[in-house]
């Protein structure tokens, strides 16, 4: 008998082992939901799968009686727009300053301490300031996401630039590269896959800031909806929404991973 640490599951066993927690939680939910509903059919805490399906039908497939909009799709669109703009802005700023900080010692000496200090400011504590200064519009929400994750991306990319072997940077100079050319031909292409990694890592935080901002001041969005229906204890809507957000997060991550693999094959071959 091999030691436990040396025993590898084959692919079928791996599959089953991986599925078990999902199945367990589903079964546990159904059983407890039925038990509660048997005692009190009006119970709202653990709605049956059927009532959740009905809620999804109302939210996603039926136009609202009052405004004619499809809530789920509208909310998704608004939220993804904010998330995309916030994360895109953060990625752009992060890329520019991460590279400048990493490549140019004078810029690093100038900005690195500030970025470090700024990254310690809790973004949610800044939210009221954003609302006061920029109003309750879209910009405040986008800004919160950007403020929340930009320092992380800058610091991460700066570290990744500094990890590039100095041999490469010297070699590029012996080939006649100026600082600018070292950036565009040597550093930037090697940092892009790392930017994707940094964005993937910061997406969780980005969702957190998005939902927080929507919960506090918004008239649509996934976060807004969840906090709105909370007043009526509408678990039948909240649970599918949470599941939907999780799926969106999963697909975003999956897409980024796919793009990275497709466009930067050398990067993934190296890091193996």
């Amino acid at each position: 008998m091999k030691r436990l640490m040396n025993r590898q599951p084959d692919s079928l066993v791996r599959y089953i082992l991986g599925a078990i927690p999902f199945i367990l939680i589903l079964v546990l939910y159904i059983v407890s939901s039925e038990a509660r509903l048997a005692e009190n059919p009006q119970d709202k805490l653990l709605p049956s799968l059927q009532s959740m399906a009905d809620a999804v039908d109302t939210m996603a497939l039926q136009p609202s009686k009052r405004s004619g909009e499809y809530f789920l799709w509208n909310d998704t669109l608004s939220s993804l727009k904010r998330l995309g703009m916030g994360v895109g802005l953060a990625a752009l700023i992060g890329l520019v300053f991460g590279i400048l900080n990493g490549v140019i010692p004078l810029v690093r000496a100038n900005l690195s301490p500030f970025v470090t200090a700024f990254s310690l400011v809790p973004p949610l504590a800044v939210l009221p300031i954003l609302f006061i200064v920029f109003g309750l519009d879209e910009f405040s929400k986008v800004a919160l996401i950007a403020i929340g994750i930009t320092p992380f991306i800058i610091r991460d990319l700066q570290a990744k630039v500094l990890e590039l072997p100095s041999e490469q940077l010297i070699k590029a100079q012996t080939l006649g590269a100026s600082t600018w050319l070292v950036i565009v031909r040597v550093v930037l292409p090697q940092i892009l896959p790392r930017l994707i990694e940094a964005v993937r890592l910061s997406l969780g935080a980005a969702w957190l800031f998005l939902i927080a901002a929507e919960a506090i001041a918004s008239t649509d969005g996934l976060g807004y909806r969840i906090f709105l229906v909370r007043r009526y204890l509408s678990m039948d809507i909240i649970l599918p929404y949470v599941l939907w957000i999780t799926l969106l997060a999963f697909f975003t991550d999956y897409t980024l991973r796919y793009i990275s693999n497709k466009f930067f094959p050398w990067f993934h071959a190296m890091s193996k």
Binding site: Q168, K171, A172, Q173, L175, G176, P189, Q190, P265, A269
Partner: protein, 264 residues
């Protein structure tokens, strides 16, 4: 072409090089051996322009060496010399592109075609024309070093610096690389400085062998005195006796500095 006048280098109390005096003519092929910690790499880094002498002068055509890497000095390191995100052809093209396109560092159309032809020619001469579109991680160590050499030579540097370029390669492949570097040297007439751990390699290649060693060595404080060039001999006129002498003379430092040492 190159003059070294009473060169010293120290980091605080740590004296790395002292009293280095020599001149090098264009077209020489100098191999440098010595125990580690004896300043070989420091000397190479000064030639490259990323270290400054503490005292004394290091002159190229009578002027101090430029204080940052430049096109006239090509370099091949033991590893990390090639760009992992570019294919073999693009790695080689890079030198031309960086020189000709100052804004994007990329060529298109006709100039690119001309540059590609030149790159292919050089890759042919180092034996890489069958792998033009592979990435470095798909190449063996020897092929990566061939690529690094091609990449450096495409700029027609006056000086080629090789920092233990074959140290990580198998002996058989190393022999092939010796052939290659000798034939390229004869063809281009470039001045070569090559650091090696392998004394035999130093004897076999090149026109001149330098041994960096500490003339004075305090066993209790090995950094008190710096190294200098203890042997400077024209290779080819040498014999077994000198090889043994050098080997023996290095033994003392090897014992005290206690490292992997110069391979016999």
């Amino acid at each position: 072409m190159i003059e070294v006048k009473n060169l010293w280098k120290n980091y605080g109390d740590n004296v790395v090089l002292e009293h280095v005096n020599t001149t090098v003519a264009a077209g020489e092929f100098i191999t440098i051996v010595g125990t580690s910690g004896c300043g070989k790499t420091t000397f190479l880094r000064m030639l490259l322009g990323i270290e400054k002498p503490t005292r004394g002068a290091l002159l190229l055509d009578g002027k101090p060496f430029p204080e940052e890497p430049s096109e006239e000095r090509g370099i091949v390191f033991q590893k990390y010399s090639v760009f992992p995100h570019l294919t073999v052809l693009k790695n080689t093209l890079l030198g031309i592109e960086l020189g000709e396109s100052r804004l994007l560092g990329k060529l298109f159309g006709k100039p690119r075609k001309a540059a590609e032809d030149k790159a292919k020619e050089i890759l042919e001469s180092v034996g890489l024309s069958h792998v033009l579109h592979l990435y470095p991680h798909e190449l063996s160590g020897g092929m990566q070093q061939r690529l690094a050499i091609a990449q450096a030579l495409i700029k027609n540097p006056r000086i080629l610096l090789l920092d233990e370029p074959f140290g990580a390669l198998d002996p058989g492949i190393r022999a092939d690389m010796h052939e290659l570097i000798l034939s390229l040297w004869k063809k281009t007439g470039v001045t070569i400085f090559m650091i090696t751990h392998d004394l035999k390699e130093g004897f076999y290649l090149g026109t001149r062998l330098w041994v960096f060693d500490k003339v004075r060595l305090d066993p209790d404080n090995v950094n008190a005195y710096g190294a200098s060039i203890t042997y400077d001999i024209a290779v080819g006129k040498t014999d077994r006796k000198i090889y043994k002498d050098i080997d023996h003379s290095l033994d003392k430092s090897r014992k005290i500095l206690g490292e992997e040492g110069v391979e016999k």
